[in-house]
Assembly symmetry: C2
Homo-oligomer: 349 residues x 2
């Protein structure tokens, strides 16, 4: 009798959860509609390439990857290629690569430590799947590189292997600064840039690379992707404490429970008095949390306006992203990519 491998109930990454669970917003729908044909091809490639004779691989990967999701990153690759006037088909396989790398990251993010278990964060299912999550993630990551090799461009390989290394560095850095109330805004941003923005950036850049556009356009798409990614992640960190989310019946305070030091907390800690800092140290560093602590945390954030001010920071990155598009001629894709920035930020309100 074979051991039954329980499928981990994959908890989507925080930055994703709030948007996938909500109705896909009108602007993402519009952007997706503009690359509908290519996206259908991407989905075919994904389904074919996640196959393996080892049954657990398509099973577990399918659980996460085929379930749908909004495929934001591959859509960005497709849209960037279109923005650059590309008429070939190389973006299809590469968009699938981007999604595979993203999924591998999610699977590895899902791995938990004994310390997490003690804090009661992980579900039993997630724990049963630790090893399976790692290995299937490795498979998808290797598959992504095989797809890139099949594409045959060393430049694309460089863009995506560089961004993979940066993502891994960012994840390790996040692990090292976890539960550390001394984390400053710069350290927070550095993690956000690495773990989220690097793949947004690469996803967009690849569009320019396949279209063989001049450096200026490639750099513009790097800037768009990077700054959109930063804004996206900052807003997601706000949403974890958002009253609107609570109204919609979504769970809030997951980051608080895990002791994640996100910008709303960094600002509250810096602006707080000694008594407040003791509260943050107890709840975030020592993870000694009781009933009412989340409410108190939110009242401190409200007192110091940290959610609103965090959104202001996101707005800055959104503005930079928008101007990065300036080089490109007017088109429906360009307009929709610009609108996407607004969507990313507005969902925080």
């Amino acid at each position: 009798m074979a051991t039954v491998i329980k499928l981990a109930e994959q908890k989507p990454d925080n930055r994703e959860a709030d948007t996938t669970k909500r109705d896909i917003s009108e602007v993402v729908k519009r952007l997706t509609a503009l690359v509908e044909g290519e996206l259908a091809e991407v989905n075919k490639v994904i389904l074919v390439e996640m196959q393996s004779e080892v049954a657990l691989i398509p099973q577990l990967a399918g659980h996460l990857i085929a379930a749908g999701g909004k495929r934001l990153r591959p859509v960005l690759t497709l849209a960037a290629a279109k923005l650059c006037g590309y008429t070939g088909s190389r973006q299809v396989g590469l968009a699938a690569c981007v999604e595979f790398i993203h999924t591998a990251t999610l699977l590895h993010d899902d791995v938990v430590d004994e310390s997490d278990l003690r804090r009661g964060i992980a579900t039993a299912n997630a724990v049963w799947g630790n090893k399976a999550s790692v290995l299937v993630g490795d498979f998808l990551f290797s598959r992504a590189f095989q797809l890139m090799v099949a594409d045959g461009s060393l430049k694309v390989l460089k863009v995506l292997s560089d961004s993979s290394a940066i993502i891994a560095e960012g994840e390790v850095q996040q692990l090292m600064t976890a539960n550390d109330t001394d984390t400053g805004e710069e350290a927070y941003l550095s993690v956000v840039k690495a773990k989220t923005a690097a793949l947004f950036s690469a996803a967009c850049q690849v569009g320019a690379v396949v279209a063989e556009r001049p450096t200026a356009e490639e750099e513009a798409l790097i800037s768009y992707g990077t700054n959109l990614g930063i804004a996206f992640q900052i807003v997601d960190d706000v949403l974890d404490y958002s009253a609107k989310q609570a109204e919609l019946g979504k769970s809030i305070g997951d980051d608080f429970q895990e002791g994640k030091v996100t910008l709303p907390i960094i600002l509250a800690f810096r602006r707080g008095n000694e008594e407040e800092r003791s509260f943050w140290r107890r709840t975030i560093e020592e993870l000694d949390q009781k009933d009412g602590d989340l409410e108190h945390a939110m009242s401190l954030m409200a007192k110091h306006n940290t959610l609103t001010d965090t959104l202001e920071r996101a707005r800055y990155y959104g503005a930079v992203a928008k101007d990065a598009l300036g080089l490109f001629p007017e088109s429906e894709v360009k307009e929709t990519l610009a609108d996407l920035i607004d969507f990313c930020i507005e969902r925080g309100h």
Copy 2:
């Protein structure tokens, strides 16, 4: 205060442990001496490329990778290049890639599931490092691809991304057949080929690729690496039950404790009577083990001659590996590569 990330006491992969802990055998020393200069360069590349501003990365990677070890896989790459008469220096960076991929695999192999904890297999340290092991492994894996991209050969990238995908598939397959006494010899071999032999094969093949040798020589090195890798793993699975190991004061029976279905057990199960099969089902499938069970398991293996016969299987692969070298002109490297096969098998006695 930053959370202290405890370094997992990295338990080397079983297939490695028995050889690294023993004196490095004379033949491995001889092979290493033949590529001494290049290996020193490989070690430099490894030290440089595992650096990161994120301190935990060189810390954890260094713990495993810089500690020395016999670097068998990169030595194979260097030796294969020399066998092919290559006089350039590309093999250096690629040998470092091979070692990075191997180390990433070890780190990911180290990840444990809650189920393992319940069985008391994992050390507390190994558990604390679950997440760190995964992420640092991801970093090394990405770094390996960056090094390949810097080398610039799509063929090398294909060889190593293909083998990475095969390794991941093999690891998942192993997970699925764990504790399954129905596992047959073919399924066992299929895992061994994927999880161990694929990287041995790629390590050797890369030597022929950089030397731009004809297909026949490249295929000969694939065959040598594959069959050497299979023999190496089979013998390692025997060593886990070896009386000689026990005499040397090495721990034995780790595979038994984990319920790993290796060839000595597969043969004992097939050759056993119903009572014996019940014993294997209780100890290996249900992991219900008590004092004296390991001794009983070893007495059943002795009764059915399964350790000796498993070594005979390894001898077959060794013979194939040796003949694969036939194409190459006589040289000290060729002779030593042939001797390496004998060493691999003889250490099982």
